[in-house]
């Protein structure tokens, strides 16, 4: 009886250790395998948001409901649509967004299970910088009793500094880890970092 208990506790410990370290490895692997699509999403989003700032989130698990946030000088508009709804294109056009391109972007995000894309501000030495955030809901098997995890990719415009463990550093105080949206990011390449989070935004 005691040996059986010991056996099960060893199995459970090993399994939980495996599950706990998996997302970090998979996040990098996921980027490498889908680099072209991910980079295309980022470039398309960047181009489109230069004309009018916006963000896209998939708020339903089945990736059928999309929440579009459109930013004007005075207001932020939040609209929820079914992906195939004609209202979506009409609304995008009404806010001077390139509707076919934005819908194409939504399609790309849907294909890769990307849950959120947005430009976020961060400040270095008092100067404003921007980073594109892209969250992905992985299909990987979820460990029992664990919370849902998301891979978050951050696309910077400039090369970033990292510590020996590959963690993103603050430029001003190079030993201090930089947190963006509450997360510590790790290196994929000089301009792209990732984090694994319980929230997609």
């Amino acid at each position: 009886m005691t040996s059986k208990l010991l056996y099960y506790s060893v199995v459970v410990t090993v399994a939980s250790l495996l599950f706990s370290c998996t997302p970090k490895i998979v996040a990098t692997k996921f980027y490498e395998e889908n680099e072209k699509v991910l980079d295309k999403i980022e470039i398309t989003y960047k181009d489109l948001s230069e004309e009018r700032s916006f963000a896209i989130a998939f708020t339903s698990k089945d990736f059928k409901t999309v929440s579009v946030e459109i930013y004007t000088d005075t207001l932020k508009y939040i609209y929820d649509f079914e992906v195939n709804e004609p209202r979506l294109a009409d609304t995008l056009t009404a806010y001077n967004l390139n509707a076919p391109k934005v819908i194409g972007l939504i399609g790309m995000m849907q294909s890769i299970r990307s849950t959120w894309i947005k430009n976020l501000d961060y400040y270095v030495d008092g100067k404003k910088n921007e980073v594109v955030f892209l969250s992905i809901k992985p299909v990987a098997v979820k460990a029992p009793l664990s919370y849902q995890k998301y891979y978050i990719l951050a696309y910077f415009n400039q090369q970033q500094q990292f510590d020996s463990k590959g963690r993103l550093l603050d430029k001003k105080q190079k030993r201090r880890l930089r947190k963006i949206n509450g997360e510590v990011f790790s290196r994929i390449n000089d301009k792209v970092c990732y984090a694994v989070s319980g929230n997609f935004r």
């Binding site: 929440s67 609209y79 976020l120 501000d121 961060y122 809901k137 919370y147 509450g182």
Partner: protein
């Protein structure tokens, strides 16, 4: 152990419900302000700007070693001129203080500016019945907050939000009463309804009414109509469950508790679609929602009314 947890949970439930009565009215009694008959506000932005401009030089404060005096004054002036832009920071629990600041900056910008300058120069200041005397860790941290968006470069806002969170305490802050770096994102900074109302009564020159609580939603026959009526005669703040409004994950089970304070700007209804315009986090947002969803997200409605002659 179970009994202990049950007792703690019961205490919190009782505090949540009884510290914020389902419905109450209280009269506002305070000295030192008068309503401007022309605008209905206690003071104007112009008066506040004149006051700030009259300060030729502000010496660095020994109380706030990391707050640059020029940046501090500039920040206070910007808040007075553009209250809409005040931003409580990414990931912080400062939304309640943010809503309060947005209302205060519209109602009494001069009072705000005077309070801020006094707090900066003397390390403590009085507003209404509150003698705000921030603790040493707050004074060290103000001006050093990072990764909070534009709050990073707004030292006066850091000083203001940290001081408010340090001074006003509610039952949510029981287990974390003393500030450590990073506590702005934790229960140390949380605001429950009763605490918000207490702060509003202290800083704002309004008659305050409140429906709802931290755990039980208000029983209203028509939530839209209630908000709409209150909005016609004053300001309205909603205490909402933001976990379902602004989803951050796809978990199906979400705690049914309020998490966010917003200031209602406009509300209208066409057939079964409600359009809500509200202020939070440095800007206004327009959102369309069904009456059922509106009822589902609101845990409390705070209405603030001006009454001419109130003192």
């Amino acid at each position: 152990m179970r009994l202990f947890l049950l007792t703690v949970a019961s205490c919190f439930f009782a505090l949540a419900v009884f510290s914020a009565p389902i419905s109450f009215r209280d009269s506002y009694g305070k000295e030192g302000f008068a309503l401007s008959p022309a605008t209905g506000v206690t003071s104007t932005a112009q008066q506040a700007v004149e006051f700030i401009d009259s300060i030729k030089t502000l010496a660095p404060s020994t109380y706030w070693p990391h707050v640059n005096p020029a940046a501090f004054l500039q920040n206070v002036k910007e808040n007075v001129l553009k209250p809409i832009l005040i931003y409580p920071g990414i990931g912080t629990n400062f939304c309640g203080y943010g809503a309060l600041s947005y209302l205060l900056l519209q109602d009494d910008p001069l009072g705000y500016a005077r309070f801020m300058v006094k707090l900066y120069t003397t390390g403590r200041a009085q507003f209404g019945n509150s003698d705000v005397d921030p603790s040493d860790p707050i004074k060290k941290q103000a001006g050093q907050m990072r990764y909070k968006g534009v709050l990073d470069i707004h030292p006066a806002d850091q000083l203001w939000f940290l001081s408010l969170a340090d001074h006003f305490k509610g039952y949510l802050n029981i287990f974390n009463r003393h500030y450590d770096v990073g506590d702005e994102d934790k229960f140390w900074a949380s605001v429950n309804l009763a605490k918000f109302n207490r702060m509003a009564r202290n800083f704002l020159h309004y008659k305050l009414g409140s429906r709802g609580s931290d755990l039980i939603r208000p029983h209203l026959s028509d939530t839209y109509q209630y908000i709409s009526n209150r909005l016609q005669r004053g300001k309205v703040v909603l205490f909402i469950n933001n976990r379902i409004v602004h989803k951050k994950n796809h978990e199906r089970v979400k705690l049914k508790v309020p998490t966010h304070f917003i200031v209602v700007e406009k509300i209208s209804r066409q057939d079964d679609l409600i359009t809500l315009v509200y202020w939070d986090y440095g800007g206004k947002t327009l959102m369309q929602l069904s009456p059922r969803f509106l009822r589902r997200i609101i845990f409390a409605i705070v209405d603030l009314k001006k009454e001419a002659g109130d003192k």
